[in-house]
Symmetry: C2
Subunit: 124 residues, 2 copies
DNA sequence: CCGCATACTTACATTTATGTTAGTATTATA
DNA sequence: TATAATACTAACATAAATGTAAGTATGCGG
């Protein structure tokens, strides 16, 4: 749990409050958030579908970052009252509104990152 | 110093290598990097000018993140052989090419962040 | 009765990011 | 001789992010 008050947190809040760029990055910058958003851009997914498409993720972090994305209003989480449990995730309109940004980020990154990396398994 | 090999690092490298969005975010996502880039978007600045415009930053981190931005090719650093020392920083063409992204990030953030934050001192 | 499915939770460990504090080199100025 | 300027560096402390490992609830199927 984050400390209620620390210089670290104060600085982050100051920057996020006054710098629109930093605020946006704060919402999507967690380790697995962009891979998650990239997958949900294609449509609704269940938890296990997301998890299986990201073999290296730890479940604790996957769930944590899904919760944060939900808290920040970027994705919906729908639970079906079934056994075994069934949960679906999909983008909210706010999440969808990130699309132009994600596209530019993706194009810029793909253009500028070192070439040697192209051979690695695609995540986005 | 970062551990030479850890799951944490491996995962980050995997994501950055295959996800253009994540690669871009990795270059600009440090705590003070966007405020720095925002300031340099207006033109060349000296170290002390940057430092004074960010009163809350620690110098260790400011220098660290300037070095990282330089390493990643987003800014130039020019040292004049003088005493006291004079160093100038400015955006490279690669740094300038981020402008459309930063603009979208800024607009999206300004539109969507909580209203109560508007009253805080502007950093960007 | 046991094993399985799914979608998590929990406690702890490790790694990483950022901040704190004091210091440095060199020349100029008083 | 002391103080000041600028642009940093270094050692350590603190905070935060991520990963590891084991576990859970419920109903279904064999």
């Amino acid at each position: 749990m984050r400390k209620a008050s620390s210089k670290n947190l104060e600085n982050e809040m100051l920057i996020n409050a006054s710098c629109g760029m930093a605020y946006t990055i704060a919402l999507i910058g967690g380790r697995w958030k962009l891979p998650i958003l990239g997958r949900l851009a294609a449509g609704t997914l269940r938890y296990n579908e997301i998890r299986k498409s990201l073999p290296m993720v730890s479940e604790r972090i996957l769930i944590l970052q899904l919760r944060e994305l939900e808290r920040d209003g970027l994705i919906y989480r729908k639970v079906y009252p079934e056994v075994p449990p069934k949960t679906e995730y999909r983008l909210t309109p706010l999440g969808v509104s990130l699309r132009p940004i994600l596209k530019l980020l993706s194009n810029w990154g793909a253009t500028n990152r070192p070439l040697a990396a192209e051979s690695v398994m695609a995540l986005s």
